[in-house]
């Protein structure tokens, strides 16, 4: 087990090198440089000033030198400094945005799993019942509607017309003058729309997935064996079928771990949430290379760990994968 872990972790090094190099390359090839963005709209910017800026950011060096320098800093644990006007360390910017995104996404995922798995089980064990048909309709509607569109509709309805919920940010302007209870209430009111929309759209896919996985398992021979033993349908479903049906869901969980940190660019932009998604989006627009690379690197690391975690969860759930 330990040697397996060591092997997997050692394998991460070349992978991360490859990922970071390709990202670096793609970013450098993208049209427009940070210097362009800073000088293009400024008629007073002379070619000399541009050169100075390029030199300042190290952009006058050949690409491989730039990558080497970046890599050298990374190895020392330094993600560099943002190109943007605030000139703050990349790490500070990320540690500011990360908890917000993480909190939102863990909430989303808990909500989605907590609802989708029971819905899937219920639909499968009562296939073609009224509830099953109703959730099927709901799921297809949920699938068919793009989340950003639903988000905008929900903002119009609950934010504008009904005026029940705030539509952007995570706190009201007078947040600091509220009592503790008021602050908690304010935070919850801000979370309802972004979390609700994300859960709604995520729920559709996962509950459907859980349902089909459960249906597949309920057709297996060992389920008949369990029934022939005299077990109640409840025990058959929850003790014999559920663990088998969860195996494929574990994959989805593993794949969603990087998303927990990466955040949703669209949702965070629409709801003006200062999380990782929005930070990444603005950094790309500003060609803020160090921030983009920092987020990419952290995303890559977390994706790899997510996959590893999914594999380990598989082993925990499925005895057939043990003793390898």
């Amino acid at each position: 087990m330990l040697s397996y872990l060591a092997k997997r972790l050692a394998g991460f090094v070349p992978l991360l090198l490859g990922i970071s190099f390709v990202s670096f390359l793609v970013m450098a090839m993208a049209p427009g440089t940070p210097v362009d963005l800073m000088t293009d709209l400024n008629p007073k910017a002379s070619p000399e000033a541009r050169e100075r800026l390029e030199k300042f950011y190290g952009l006058d060096q050949p690409l491989y030198v730039q990558y080497g320098l970046w890599l050298g800093r990374i190895v020392k644990g330094d993600l560099g400094t943002s190109f943007s006007r605030d000139r703050r360390p990349v790490l500070d910017k990320i540690t500011e945005a990360l908890p917000i995104t993480l909190f939102l996404n863990v909430l989303d995922l808990t909500l989605i799993l907590g609802l989708a798995i029971p819905i899937g089980i219920y639909s499968a064990s009562r296939q073609y019942s009224l509830v099953d048909r109703a959730t099927t309709v709901f799921v297809f509607v949920g699938f068919a509607m793009p989340s950003f569109w639903v988000a905008l509709l929900a903002m119009m309805l609950f934010g504008e017309q009904l005026g029940w919920l705030p539509i952007s940010g995570l706190r009201s302007l007078d947040y600091d003058s509220m009592s503790l209870l008021g602050q908690i209430g304010d935070r919850i009111r801000h979370l309802i729309l972004p979390v609700g929309i994300a859960a709604l759209t995520g729920l559709a896919g996962l509950s459907r997935y859980m349902r089909s996985s459960m249906l597949e398992v309920l057709r297996q021979d060992y389920i008949q064996t369990a029934r022939a033993k005299g077990l109640s349908e409840r025990v058959v479903v929850y003790r014999h079928a559920l663990r088998n049906a969860l195996l494929p869901v574990v994959t989805i969980l593993g794949l969603s771990i990087p998303g927990l940190i990466g955040g949703s660019v669209i949702a965070e932009t629409i709801f003006a949430i200062p999380g990782m998604g929005r930070l990444f989006y603005t950094s790309v627009l500003m060609r803020d290379y160090p921030v983009v690379m920092g987020i990419t690197l952290i995303g890559a690391v977390l994706t790899l760990f997510g996959n590893l975690l999914a594999d380990l969860m598989y082993v925990a759930v499925d005895p057939r994968l043990r003793n390898r």
Binding site: Y128, T225, A228, K229, R320
Partner: protein, 333 residues
């Protein structure tokens, strides 16, 4: 051995089990009558799709709704009609009074639970033993089915066992609650020939030792001849011949049984192509009028097209569903 006067352990009367299919309602079991006496071995034979397995599943009421359902009939176990029991009471029959083992040992055990757990689960449910006592009991029944290193094997997962060992686990599970009737649905079909003999021998000796009845479902006539006392021959959802194995094999009354026996290869018989029954089994939703075997029958008479023959007694515990055979009083063909 005829068992017609004694009270039967299991009595199936006029059982009809139907399935909804895209081609309409199909009666996979269409009026089946038979009984099993205490401690006896009865073989249920017939081709694939003749309704053997559905009959077995019907006895345990495990035909999956909503597509499949038991439409008519009685299934009496010790005088109680199982078809009238509420589901909660039926669960106390399954695994405790009637146990079943299935054809495919590779897929009949849950891959994520240890075999010991799967056996102990039945013991805890029906005999109310504690978790640790049930585990000991699981080990004991594994020893009973001659599982090597039973205590160790109990902690194994199904994928760590061979097909033969898994079938031993299935048998152990079935016997763990001391059932009166064991239904074995093609218990050896999926196994190697050498393992087949071992498993059958084991089943037979355990049946004798524990004094339970065995309903052996098979399409292997050799197995029937060796292990069973009585035989039921099924064709297209009906029992068409019934009787003591020796008598039926020596002197089959129904033309279908005769055809079946002729198509078994025998050592020492002259070479040449094996005899076959002409035609194919009719689709259950497009059965011919009259006798359902008449299109393939070499003894059919004009009347066979209009009369649907019932299973008629011929004496000595024999019954046959054929007007020609019945008219000849079960005479030799």
């Amino acid at each position: 051995m005829t068992g017609s006067d004694t009270t039967h352990l299991l009595d199936v009367r006029g059982l009809v089990t139907a399935f909804d299919t895209s081609d309409g309602v199909v009666r996979a079991v269409d009026g089946v009558d038979f009984h099993v006496a205490e401690g006896e071995t009865v073989a249920l034979v017939g081709e694939s799709g003749c309704g053997k397995s559905v009959t077995a599943l019907s006895i345990l009421r495990l035909v999956q709704a909503p597509a499949g359902r038991i439409v008519a009939g009685r299934i009496e176990l010790g005088g109680t009609n199982l078809l009238e029991l509420p589901e909660v009471e039926m669960r106390k029959v399954r695994g405790a009074k009637i146990a079943m083992i299935f054809q495919e040992p590779m897929t009949s055990l849950n891959p994520v639970l240890t075999v010991g757990y799967q056996i102990a689960e039945a013991v805890r449910l029906h005999r109310g033993l504690s978790r640790s006592d049930a585990w000991k009991e699981a080990v004991r029944v594994l020893e009973l089915v001659e599982m090597p290193d039973a205590a160790e094997r109990a902690a194994s997962y199904p994928h760590q066992l061979s097909g033969g060992m898994r079938q031993r686990v299935m048998i152990a599970m079935a016997l763990s609650c001391d059932p009166r009737l064991l239904i074995a649905d093609e218990p050896t079909t999926a196994l190697d020939v050498t393992i087949q003999a071992q498993i059958l021998e084991l089943l037979d000796s355990l049946r004798a030792r524990l004094g339970m009845a065995l309903l052996l479902i098979t399409h292997d006539l050799g197995v029937v001849a060796e292990r069973a006392e009585r035989v039921l021959v099924m064709y297209a959802g009906r029992v068409i011949e019934e009787g003591p194995v020796d008598a039926v094999f020596a002197d089959p009354h129904h033309p279908y049984t005769r055809g079946l026996l002729r198509s078994v290869p025998r050592l020492g018989r002259e070479r040449g192509p094996l005899a076959t029954i002409p035609g194919v089994v009719p689709k259950l939703n497009a059965l011919p009028k009259g006798c359902r075997f008449r299109d393939r029958c070499d003894a059919a008479v004009a009347e066979c097209a209009s009369v649907d023959p019932a299973l008629a007694p011929l004496g000595q515990g024999r019954r046959v569903a054929c007007i020609v055979a019945a008219a000849h009083g079960g005479l030799r063909w």
